[in-house]
Symmetry: C2
Amino acid sequence: MRRIRLIVQYNGNAYAGWQVQKTGVAVQEVIERELQKITGESIRIHASGRTDACVHAMGQVMHFDTDSRIPAAKFPYALNVSLPKDIRIIYGDEPENQEFHSRFDAISKHYRYCIFNAPHDSAFSYDRALHIHGEIDRALLAKVAKDIVGKHDFFAFMASGTQIPSTVREIYKSEWTFEKNLLIYDIEGSGFLYNMVRIIVGSMLDISRNRLDENAIQKALISKDRSDLGATAPAHGLMLMGVRYHDFNSEDYIDA
Amino acid sequence: MRRIRLIVQYNGNAYAGWQVQKTGVAVQEVIERELQKITGESIRIHASGRTDACVHAMGQVMHFDTDSRIPAAKFPYALNVSLPKDIRIIYGDEPENQEFHSRFDAISKHYRYCIFNAPHDSAFSYDRALHIHGEIDRALLAKVAKDIVGKHDFFAFMASGTQIPSTVREIYKSEWTFEKNLLIYDIEGSGFLYNMVRIIVGSMLDISRNRLDENAIQKALISKDRSDLGATAPAHGLMLMGVRYHDFNSEDYIDA
């Protein structure tokens, strides 16, 4: 039995999320089905974490165990032949530490949220960027993004009803970049609660459009009250860019 | 009767091209159908030129005549509500010169061809960039692109069977830009013959991969023989970026 590690890229638009759901097709099951065809084994794959319906991944990391003799580096080629074009395996190896676990060993994750701010949406990025027509205060966005950085209890930044032992997370980076009408938000942290990035983005957007007080994020970090924050931003603007491990970072393998 | 000018953006992947065809849905008919709903008139629209199936447009220009009183600047909003998301009207006006003709008045066009050069294709650009696995000599691409510039008889650079009075065209710009694994070719000219850009790109690619002699393009400009050139590059890498007129350039209205 060998453990194989793959980097997978997907446009989440056509899928019900990473994990097998009651309704819709999950990215995980599409890959598992192809793995079964190739290896003849019934394989369960494990990713660094789930992504919701319509959320994308540039460098999702997954692992699985197999008895097959296919070299790890050949899996991307073997799988890509029959996978749908919006799911691509871009890298495969056999981790030196065969105890490697894509989820438990992850040190940090990098998410990106894209906004297209123009009178009309783009025919090319509509499924990967949130279109906003109205004016956005970019300076204010850049300013409030800093409130997130550091170790905080993000209890308020979580979809209600979620049960989890600890809601403390550390954010290493929280930054906006502006390129013409494209607003790109990069956040890197030790881990993320359910809907956390989308609640952060939705709140920053509400602040930047004067729908929420400028100090709302600071306030919610203390009050731990979801109602101090803004809307949950739509899923299709969100992308898991990469996952970092002790000696491996999936972003190093992204081509463009 | 007023003449309205619109800039339209489309991902050509789902369409049989710009113009109404016997098989498949054309971009033109999708827009005409929505115009009829809005104005109650049976409207024929005219574009700067046709694009083939799977070819995209960032700044296609079109015009039509109408008796409706809808302000020109409102047409994008009115149409985008019901158009599919891969077709967007991003600008509308009433040209001062009401004799304006999107096709006959065009001075030059700008096309772009995108190549994604990496071991595996991208889950995000597969429908808009040609994926090439193998090595490409970028310096050679940059060099041969210069052979195209100037006024030439491009008879050899035309899909066979095409009938046209003159095959002389002037190319103002022919240039490659390289961004990581993305190879971007920009060509601007007075006009283009049927399949001309795709034959130019296919030939340059064949040269850069040692499948065709380095002087093939220079040779074909003199011999006027299609067989001196390389393959016709696939349609889905091609995009009409913009159309220039005496006092109007659609690229000035592209947001990102």
